[in-house]
Amino acid sequence: MIEVRNLTRRYGQFVAVDDISFQARPGEIVGFLGPNGAGKTTTMRVLTGYIPPTSGTVRIAGVDVMEDSLEARRHTGYLPETVPLYPDMTVREMVNFVADLRGVASRRARVDEALAQVGMTERAGSLIRSLSKGMRQRVGLAQALVHSPPILILDEPTIGLDPHQVIEVRDLVRGLGAADRTVLFSTHILSEAEQVCDRVLIIAGGRIVAEGAPDALRDSLQRGGRVYLRLANAPELKQVRRVLGDVAGVAGVESESGGFVVQMVKGMDARAAVAGEAVRAGWRVLEMRPWGATLEDIFLEFTASSRTIKRRR
């Protein structure tokens, strides 16, 4: 269980994290989604006791990180953004080192298990110096897992990996969400958060700008977006405008590459109504999908606008 209340962190005058509050419950994989400089790493560093908050409280497994930092750290496994490994150690030595510092009981069994979980058993004897980036990422994960922590904090575990390794690490993280484990996972890739997480927090400019299950979030992000509509017995643009123009939430219609682009009113989702009207008008719908903006673009737009709002204040 992670409980963050009114957390603010400043670097000098600069506000990196601005009064955020959220919770992550056991059994949940929570995605921390935001563009570069959003404040993800800063928040995670406060959660793990590396830097103090300027104000606000953080409780890890019920323990306040400022009041009893050591106890809070005992419950946490942490993979920092720059994977902290000693290049002159072998994989097993590295995980042993962390297990020893954590005072893990039955060390050998736990280290073996952690290495098996991340699929590094065969490379246990290799020097970390000689490993690829993806493998180092796995060793970093093994190190964070070795004491089977109830809380796991992973800072961009897929950054800088090739697509193949990205998929492997995503699968791995999804598998790590056990019944009573809380996983907080940061990324700046929306589709990744969608694939891996049960719930997503979108952070931009140090504030949480949206929160919810990936599906719900996708819907709310697309609200006010554009939809591409392709019809079999293509009617005239005028006719389409007449039929769809009256639907609540539709701002306008343009013709576009053999179909039509329907612009929604900002903040409204008229997709269901548009589909209903199209069918009632006797058109056969071949295709209906988000237009122009991919999820990524919409997300960018969303976080960018929240940033300009902030700047104006």
Partner: protein
């Protein structure tokens, strides 16, 4: 703490710099030893103090090579973030590293005991003085390593840490001479600076076979103060600003 200590010890046995330091110590003391013997032959009975004084002096420059890495590298590589988010006290990390460096220094010191042993085989020098000298050098080593560790905590650049500690140690070594410069201003100030001298607490006591408690207290106290400051520097990241 012992986990950190073990890692640092192992590190010294795989690090080329540590081997270079060991080589330099044995080579330089070896030269000093033979030239000292030759100069004295037939004139004065050999004693161990020349070689021990020399050992103390070269350590001003070699000890920083042993300590510069300790914390600066952790900061540069980001592994400090791992250490400081594990359930381990900052003090245990600092102390473990200090003990690792001191243990390696102790091995170097023990290696230079071949010279006193040779002297014992050749003649009958003052064994008591040699033992006192060795204990003095051991405590002295702890204090200069703790100074080096402090500078390693201050910067993420190993080279900077190394040079700053050499400079600081050199000034402290000469503090008795520097103290004289203050004499014109105030006798108390001069006296105070003089008591900070690293060599003053060695050359006039331990190396002559005299054990003065205040000298041992000086080295142990200096070590303790340096380590406490280092722990504060490492923990400063966690202070609320």
């Amino acid at each position: 703490m012992w986990v950190v200590f073990k890692r640092e010890m192992r590190q010294y046995f795989t690090s080329p710099i540590a081997y270079l330091v060991a080589f330099a110590v044995l080579f330089l003391t070896g030269i000093t030893f033979t030239s000292d013997l030759r100069a004295r032959s037939g004139l004065a009975p050999a004693d161990g103090s020349v070689i021990q004084g020399f050992f103390a002096f070269v350590m001003i420059f070699l000890a920083p090579l042993l300590t510069m890495r300790l914390l600066a590298e952790e900061t540069r590589e980001g592994t400090i973030e791992l250490l400081l988010t594990l359930p381990v006290q900052d003090g245990a990390v600092v102390f473990g590293k200090f003990l690792g460096a001191w243990a390696y220094y102790t091995l170097l010191l023990l290696a230079t005991l071949v010279y006193p042993i040779l002297l014992i085989a050749l003649g009958n020098p003052d064994i008591g003085a040699m033992i006192a000298g060795t204990i003095g050098l051991w405590l002295y080593g702890g204090s200069i390593l703790s100074v080096g560790l402090l500078f390693s905590a201050l910067t993420e650049n190993q080279i900077v840490a190394g040079f700053l500690s050499m400079a600081a140690l050199f000034l402290l070594w000469l503090a008795d001479s520097i103290g004289i410069l203050f004499a014109g201003i105030s006798v108390e100030a001069a006296e105070f600076v003089r008591t900070l001298s690293l060599r003053g607490h060695l050359s006039t006591s331990f190396l002559l076979g005299i054990f003065r408690p205040e000298d041992a207290v000086f080295y142990i106290g200096l070590t303790a103060v340096m380590l406490l400051i280092t722990i504060q520097i490492v923990g400063a990241r966690r202070w609320r600003t």
